[in-house]
């Protein structure tokens, strides 16, 4: 049964943050920091990126400000909510020296429940994919699982796509389809609110809501459709696995390798990339050592190294690994493509390599599904 859409006045948005905080959540929301939109601890509505827009192009991300009252009239920033669940760097366990050897203790992560405001549709899709990586296999990652505990997700459907966005073609946006507790559509005067779960309903019950008017619901619908239509980049939504692996000798790999710096930016901004490296940080007195992990990239020299042998010595191999994995072998591993159409790898690539363009060149696919 579909509940009637409700409306939250712009002036009442603070009540949502307060309700979450009162429920014991650590509230995380978008803010402008160092010229980009980032997800950080949020206490005040005033901290939201009101009036800010993002202009994204290959190798370019710029924010501009206007008097617009909207707080979510942008596409995305360099990071999805990934770092809050799968930390960029975190200790896993420590080994402590004893008289006859050592003992091992887990380092337990801070598990205060998180509430996110302003999650994007593509980020929700990416989150579902990371869940499959860390929770769906024979081994459950307890660090990731602990942070996802009792997490609350408040999505905001995108009203503005960036030039780098292509979520409409991957089927992941701009409307958030599933996986949220509450979803908002931002209008000038406030927010049309949808409930996605019982947890979301519990929060909604604490807010001063009114029934959304037909015009408001229509306006919300129109703007998300406009955001979809404004997207110019596409990626074929079909499974590209066989096409990619049939083209491992395509000359385009050499072409892209000549441009690629192998810096790994694309993998670090990607909301679905999960590679990480483990290492030891030993105390100076040698009495204790910390075993930690941090994000790794298939573009790094260490990623493919085994004793005396480098699996991927050339940039060509590394770019091919990234693209054939992301758009190809991901299907085998997790049942869908690893790309959610957020376009971050395009904007944050220092030389502006466009994943959609490379995929089209290599697979010969037009990107428009029949």
């Amino acid at each position: 049964m579909q509940a009637p859409a409700q409306f939250l006045a712009r002036s009442a948005l603070q009540s949502m943050i307060d309700a979450l905080a009162a429920r014991g959540y650590r509230v995380i929301g978008p803010q402008v920091r160092d010229g980009a939109i980032v997800y950080a601890d949020l206490a005040q509505v005033n901290d939201l990126p009101q009036g800010w827009r993002d202009a994204q192009e290959p190798s370019s991300y710029r924010l501009t400000h206007s008097d617009n009252v909207r707080c979510f009239a942008w596409a995305n920033g360099p990071q999805a909510i990934k770092p809050h669940l799968f930390a960029a760097q975190e200790p896993l366990w420590r080994a402590i020296q004893t008289d006859d050897g050592f003992r091992v203790e887990a380092v337990e992560p801070d598990v205060r429940p998180l509430a996110f405001i302003g999650v994007r549709a593509c980020d929700l899709s990416a989150l579902a994919l990371q869940d499959r990586v860390f929770l769906g296999g024979p081994f459950v990652d307890p660090y990731y699982a602990a942070r996802g505990t009792e997490m609350l997700l408040i999505a905001v459907h995108c009203s503005h796509a960036a030039a780098t966005c292509f979520c409409a073609s991957t089927g992941d946006g701009p409307r958030a389809g599933a996986g949220f507790d509450l979803a908002l559509s931002e209008l000038e005067e406030g927010f049309v609110l949808e409930v996605g779960s019982a947890a979301g309903r519990g929060i909604a019950a604490l807010l001063p809501l009114t029934v959304a008017s037909a015009q408001q619901i229509q306006a919300a619908q129109t703007q998300v459709e406009a955001a979809a239509q404004s997207q110019t980049r596409t990626l074929p939504s079909r499974n590209l696995r066989d096409l990619l692996f049939a083209n491992l000798d395509h000359p385009r790999w050499d072409d892209v390798a000549a441009r690629c710096l192998s810096c790994g930016n694309c993998t670090l901004v990607c909301p679905t990339c999960f590679c990480h490296a483990e290492s030891e940080v030993t105390a100076l007195n040698g009495k204790e050592t910390l075993h930690q992990r941090e994000w790794d990239s298939c573009f790094s020299a260490g990623h493919g190294y085994i004793h005396g042998f480098q699996v991927r010595p050339e940039t060509k191999h590394r770019y091919r690994q990234w693209l054939t994995h992301k758009l190809g072998s991901w299907h085998e591993q997790f049942g869908r493509s690893g790309c959610v159409g957020c376009g971050r790898c395009i904007a944050w690539c220092p030389v502006g390599i466009d994943l959609t363009e490379e995929a089209h060149a290599i697979t010969g696919e037009t990107g428009h599904d029949e």
Binding site: A106, V111, R112, A145, T289, H325
Partner: protein, 372 residues
Amino acid sequence: MSRAMRELILGRVRPGAAVTFFCLPKRNVTKEKGTPFAGPHYGGFPALLAKPGGCATRAIRCAATRSDSARRLPPARLRYSAARRGPNYVAVFTMHTNPYLPHVARIVERRQDAPTIFTLRLAFEDAAMQRQYRFQPGQFNMLYLYGVGEVAISIVSDPEEETMFDHTIRVVGRVTEGLAKLAPGDRVGIRGPYGRGWPLAAAVGKNVLIVTGGLGCAPVVSVIRYVMRRRADYGKLTIIQGVKHSADLIYRLQYEDWARAPDTTVLIAANASAGPWPWHVGPVTELITQAHVAPDSSVAMMCGPEGMMIAAAKILLQHGLGEDRIYFSTERNMHCALGHCGHCQFGGKFVCRNGPVFDYSEIKELLGIRGF
């Protein structure tokens, strides 16, 4: 939900605590609505863990309780047992089932096999863990050297030996160099066993062909010993070993020993030789024809440089051996061994989870292609 169960749950929830396991019927969980379990909910199920610090996972949605027996079960077993109870049961995993933690093991014995190769015989400090430890030949453990790091090493001992397990290690890097300096009584960390081992059950009654190249290949040594101990269960055993130069052959006495075993053939090839060399001179692949492979009743298991294995596989295919009868033990960079860290991917396969042993048909698409 019974009063006792509820108390168990309430009693164990404390801020900062991690929660162990459990599978509970979902209907019992939903009954908890409206009870004093305040706090955030997720996805229609009340969060039974009232305070921050609770740890029932969002994706798995379930109640949690403490269970010592559950703590000892591997996660896959827990999930399986929850599933077996019916569709309304689910399992929860937390810090107490942390697969990243190594367990301390003691070096019982150390043997120097060759100048750069040594064998450690290990036993878990926790006697119960040692008793419960089971593996298959071809599987591997992550060995942890205090303060240095972890490394993936295959297990070479017999799976029926319950008091300890062996790793034969070649000194090739930071961790193995350090492991080489340890002595009996020293401690290492162990996680495992991981991966899919050799198809030894499927090979029962068949001829076993071992092809290996380079310096002593531990993964196949485990197969040879396994078959030797169960000689009646298998047909002909043929061991083919290739080395670049005759001087590279280690375990020479071991090969001579194996050659004397019943129904066993040992064939060795060196690309170049010096001094007395009773075996073949030339590429190891030339020996495969001499091995008289019976395609219908043979299984080939190989370990060594990939180029050698690919060349050998091609000849075996020409001899009529099926693609699903030719097995490779593969090796890639490995950090977590849990399918999370991404390093060991070979196309869509995780070597740590889907391998390290693959049959030819599973990996032929990418075999020999630089960059995978």
